[in-house]
């Protein structure tokens, strides 16, 4: 079981923990955090794959993913503030106006 194999497993695990956070948590901020976690997990496996194939593009990709993650969380939080202003509480179940 060499290092790379472990990291790959870790990244898959982290990705799905992030997913569970997103799906289970009632609070929007935590949902956003869950997304951050999932992105981070992807970075891990990205880096390991590029390392394995002696390439640098992998790390480059990671860099970009980080930038995007930052942008995404910024916008996410500003939306959250608006959400809070409208609904008064940051629970996901409040936002069901689109109910069928």
């Amino acid at each position: 079981m060499n290092a790379f194999f472990q990291i790959q497993l870790l990244s898959a695990f982290l990705f799905f923990v992030g997913l569970l956070v997103v799906l289970l948590k009632r609070n929007i901020i935590i949902v956003l955090m869950g997304i951050e976690l999932m992105l981070n997990a992807i970075n891990l496996s990205f880096v390991v794959f590029s390392k394995q194939n002696y390439q640098i593009e992998g790390q480059l990709g990671v860099l970009f993913i980080i930038v995007i993650a930052a942008a995404e969380s910024a916008i996410g939080l500003s939306i959250l503030i608006n959400f809070y202003r409208n609904f008064g509480v940051t629970k996901t179940s409040v936002a069901n106006t689109l109910k069928g």
Binding site: F5, F16, V21, M33, V47, V48, L60
Partner: protein, 191 residues
């Protein structure tokens, strides 16, 4: 599959992996927002450590700087701003019965995770290489080449500013747009 990392570092990596797993579960089962935020912070730091151990020093530093530093700060700031911690508890009681209970979701996600993991691992062990032999392109950046250029950061710099400079410019514009959007969205409507 040649082993690029020495035995000691693999053992460190396994330790770090276990640590990140614990912190991730902490984040999942945290009751309050703050605890899960701290959990995430811890996971980020550990992954930065893993990067460092593997040899990706530049990515590790960026990870700490941007992820842990900027984004987490933002999150904690917004948690504090909206001071959500109290309502969390009494909301818990009147949870109406939902069709998709958490256990069912975990049950559904489980097999997917297993499949996903299997694919990642299979690729890393080059299980599929005979099928995808056409695409596997061994890069030129072996350990010695990096050493010869002068370290990981130099290699990254060369790649980033020489071959993919357009990408670099684009990403900066992207960041600019994101910034403006965030300001516009969060601005309080004065009129």
């Amino acid at each position: 599959m040649v082993n690029l990392i020495s035995n000691t570092s693999t053992s460190i990596i396994t330790a770090l992996c276990i640590l990140t797993v614990i912190f991730a579960l902490l984040m999942l089962f945290a009751k309050t927002a703050i605890n899960s935020a701290l959990g995430l912070l811890a996971v980020l730091l550990c992954s930065a450590a893993i990067y460092a151990v593997i040899g990706e020093h530049f990515v590790a530093t960026i990870q700490i700087l941007v992820y842990a530093g900027a984004i987490m700060v933002l999150f904690i700031f917004s948690i504090m701003l909206l001071n959500l911690t109290e309502e969390e508890k009494e909301q818990e009681k009147k949870q109406e019965k939902k069709f998709f209970t958490p256990h069912l979701i975990v049950l559904l996600i489980g097999p997917l995770a297993a499949m996903f993991a299997f694919i990642l691992v299979a690729f890393s062990l080059e299980y599929f290489s005979p099928y995808v032999s056409r695409y596997s392109y061994k890069g030129v950046y072996t350990k010695e080449h990096i050493m010869q250029i002068g370290g990981n950061t130099f290699a990254m710099a060369q790649e980033l500013f020489a071959t993919h400079y357009i990408l670099f410019e684009l990403i900066s514009i992207f960041l600019l747009i994101a910034m403006i959007a965030a300001v516009v969205l969060a601005k309080r409507k004065i009129d």
